[in-house]
Symmetry: C4
Subunit: 236 residues, 4 copies
């Protein structure tokens, strides 16, 4: 038995999605990487959250996706997670949900504009939408190709995966990530709330405009980077 | 005493509707069929969920609707359920709710388009709306005729009751079904969520388009049919 | 000590509004009448639901509104309740809330059209809106005049207080009633849900049409009146 | 150890925001002033509500903002609170949230019109929006300048901080206040609900009009000021 701590954290992240009301039934999945060990742990496919235990998490090689530990089949979205870990060293955990409002923006095929400081405190600009997968990409290695279009969207660094830790896959839903499982879940929670408020703000005023660059800079940078002054100094 | 297991499952399905927030007061009803025994069990009419017990379920003959077991009056929607069981062998359980979003689409007289993979994972295309009942059908055997228009809608197999296990009756609300009570409830839960997200997606973008056929095929068929690869192999 | 049962029922109705999520803070009030004793009991004004006990209900004469029992000041809306009891013998209980969706229709100054069978099962047609109070009526005996415009709206029997047991006061909110406290609360719950679904149905389809008269007749009359066949025969 | 009661009340106000569903994660903050002692107490920055205790509240001088008691860093919004206390003697407590509907109006850059008596019972007219901060104000002492634009908005007494105890900062969110922590939280709860109902009323009827001045006067003044007749005479 190994990877106890990783599996525990990944299990907690999966349970955190349920507690936050971001998943229904067996939907959604969270994973976490141990870069030193070269592995990721992920939720098994289609298992009830209620009966799921840390030991049910499936551990796979980050290099080739081979199962290293666990008896259950990993989430069918595993190739998407793997693709992101392989492309971006900064990603330590990934969560995928069909949370109501973020998924509605994905179904609308629209990026979520940064309408307020709630958004700017956590994401440095709009939540982007990937391009549609081609018919060949859908018919082929679909889940891997879903990872591919996400990687493609972030490949030029505008935005970077650090500055905007979430994306929408059109007609599908959101993926969010972070340095740790706890932070990835938090980003998924904030994403859902900013998706909801952006929709409502446009309901109040169809011509509502995104935040100015100056205000976006102020809010994102007071919580992130060298000049941050939010929270306790001893905080993670 | 017989049909204990059937009554227990049907009772659980009815209670599952309450837990999922799909019913208010005494609204809604779930039934289940035992094809070998030639019977169905259904919720009694207008009884509080709180006080309802498995033994309160009413058992009727699938052939003629005669009560076989039980002292309470069956749900007033029983003739609708009976009609569906008689017409479609594949249906093992039926649930009827007035869940908020699905009912709103029914009141709008609009089919629920397949806007995303959440929908495609469970329903192979739009949730159809039946035609309006005629004045004669309303004034006559109304509940039986409600079953009749549903049967009519699915009679040419486009869609089939297996590929799209739900329907909207205009001005009324949704019926959902499945091979088992647990699966019928699950379909009602998913129906409500896709109804909600389809409404919200159109609020974000009035010109939002349904999923491509290729993506619909991919998602529905990876969970259903011979090539399915979602969930655990030992899963039902 | 008298009126124990009436005060208990009225207290339960008030607590039922909280449980159903229809009131915030100290908002809302429920009352009940004992026609034989010639009294009504009502919630005290501005008291926390949490600490409220049956004995806190204030009992007043239905004839002149004089307090018969109780040490607290009755709800400031008491004159509105009194006016309704005095005008309509069929009313045995009244509840007033600022429930979100029904109040939004009241603020919009629009009657709630009967968009579906959920509505028709409980209300025999649209939920009407009273006329605006005049400036003199607002500046004068405001709460009594609020009762007056409601009475005026139902005075020609279209609708009657029995067939449509709820009304909206424009810019204010809903009042609902029934033969008993339990039934008045139930009507307030259904009113809120049909207000919500009518709004959503119009969001899906701005041209959505109300139910046909035939379907309205069918649904209302199968639950009310001589030919009712919904629920258990022994049911109240 | 001092200021025990103040810290206890401020802690309760912060927990009250969580209970009312107005804050997510570590968002939001509540403070309270002790005018006689010349201090304010406020929530520490970025601390989990779950683990927060009354003694974690940070006490600062109302004169210069110097920390008087407490080991944690105060909320990053402290300079905004301080600015309001310094400018308006009538303010005894301030709460800041990113509650969903009020924040959506702030993101839309629109004042919340007084659409009904729920609003008029608590706020004597529309909830105003401050002007945008200038680029220099954002880049400079941002939190202090946020206080400055709020003070500016209320400086001519139309409205006064007593008659409309809440404001929206555009692209950011609401601040609410009151004579005591309990009352400030209550105002934040009512603000969120009136923001929600104003949005929904306009969804029902885009041409819905605000309350008349006469009705606004009636409702606000029956609960506030010399002629108030709502609640119990012994009530605070």
């Amino acid at each position: 038995m190994a990877f106890e701590e990783l599996k525990e954290q990944v299990w907690q992240a999966n349970m955190g999605l349920v507690e936050a009301g971001l998943v229904l039934l067996t939907w959604g999945n969270a994973s976490g990487a141990d870069r030193d060990a070269g592995v990721m742990a992920i939720k098994p496919s289609g298992v009830d959250y209620e009966n799921m235990r840390p030991d049910d998490m499936v551990v796979l090689s980050l290099k080739d996706g081979e199962v290293v530990e666990g008896t259950l089949r990993p989430s069918s979205d595993t190739p998407t997670h793997l693709s992101l870990y392989q492309s971006f060293e900064a990603i330590g955990s990934i969560v995928h949900t069909h949370s109501t409002y973020a998924t509605s923006w994905a179904q609308a095929g629209r990026e979520i504009p940064c309408m307020g400081t709630t958004h700017a405190d956590n994401f440095y600009g709009a939540i982007p939408v990937t391009r549609d997968l081609t018919e060949a990409e859908i018919r082929g290695e679909y889940e891997k190709n879903t990872g591919r279009v996400i990687v493609e969207r972030f490949s030029n660094g505008e935005p970077s995966v650090e500055s905007v830790p979430a994306v929408l896959v059109p007609g599908h839903g959101p993926f969010a990530w972070g340095p740790s499982p706890m932070k990835a879940v938090e980003n998924a929670i904030v994403l859902e709330e900013v998706a909801r408020m952006a929709l409502l703000a446009h309901s109040v005023n169809p011509n509502a405009q995104p935040l100015s660059q100056t205000l976006l800079d102020k809010h994102f940078l007071r919580k992130h980077g060298a000049g941050a002054y939010y929270g306790q100094t001893t905080k993670q």
